[in-house]
Amino acid sequence: MTAPISETKPTVQPATDDIDWSAVLLQVRDTRDNAAFAALFRHFAPRVKAFLMKSGADATLAEECAQDVMATLWHKAHLYDPARASVATWIFTIARNRRIDALRRARRPEPEDLTWGPDHEPDQADILAQRQDSARLGAALTQLPPKQRELIEQAYFGDRTHTEIAAATGLPLGTIKSRIRLALDRLRHELK
């Protein structure tokens, strides 16, 4: 992988919400396509960096980690399963693990790898179902009342436990937990 990104190769640029990022990542996986990687990079790297900064990293560390996360995406593309997770979800898990390593200096225990057998190629119907579920989850999140959404964001991005959120917001722990539960119930309801 030494060739520079070719700017002459036409990359499709519709509204980024409509891009099937799974297909783009599979292109990176199958053909090591630089232009496809650049498209993923332009969309996700600024979000990964924002995620790390929200979690308490300064801009320099966040930049470094975001580059690392995107490099990991390239190296581990063969492990991505489009029937199991959206690209955003997969990148989130890589970025989260990088954050634990960089900010908490702890290891991240991961469950045993699932083995699919050598010829596992996910079913198109499963891939489509995953895309639809992800889109509905995204839509349901935007429907949440702002306060519930904020608590969920804090739980994920603030690198804070529920107890720490309680200390920061001045709300009792029981209230935090029940509000988060309420938000999750709403999400589940939306996804039914």
């Binding site: 600024p46 979000r47 690392d68 979800t89 290891r107 991961e110 469950p111 436990t161 999400l187």
Partner: protein
Amino acid sequence: MTNMTIQHHLTDDLLMGYAAGTLPEAFSLVVATHLSLCDDCRARSEAYDALGGSLLGALETAELAEDSLQATLRRIAAGPPSERPRKSGALFPAPLQDYVGGDLAAVRWRPVGMGVRQAILRTDRNATARLLYIPAGAAVPDHSHRGRELTLVLQGAFRDEDGRFGPGDIEIADEAVQHTPTAEAGLPCICLAATDAPLRFRSLIPRLAQPFFRI
């Protein structure tokens, strides 16, 4: 390596904390080991990952360094970081093997009295992870907690005031729980446990022993 008879599962707040990456390392180790054995909880856990993915996808973007993409391509050209191959053993799933350095035979047990043995695993200091070996029929001394305790059964079974816990089952105890787990007859009971505060034993002698054994 999944087990269909698991009766006691992870709670939503633990699954969410694991997905968010905010649990102490020792708790994450117990969660990851349970997920390796329990397809139900693994599916729920991946739903919480998906929630993280949706939140990430909706974030306002941060400005990248000017040469960010080129710098990333240089990282890629430098090659992937080396990774140790993971092993799963007859008894210990891969995440636990990563911490023990092998399967059951690799554990360096220390006696803690009455035939009970333990081995502390190295994690960050926010909580303690340890393996427990309880001879069949033996009881773990009566104790309560200042914080939370997760106990995952790997072999054998124990019973306490909350019921029976067999392989793959996880008991989640908080400060309110005062329990006396007793191993069933048959195999010795081997558990992976995490506590975020030292256990408080009720009788005097185990309490005196606590500083020495770190339980």
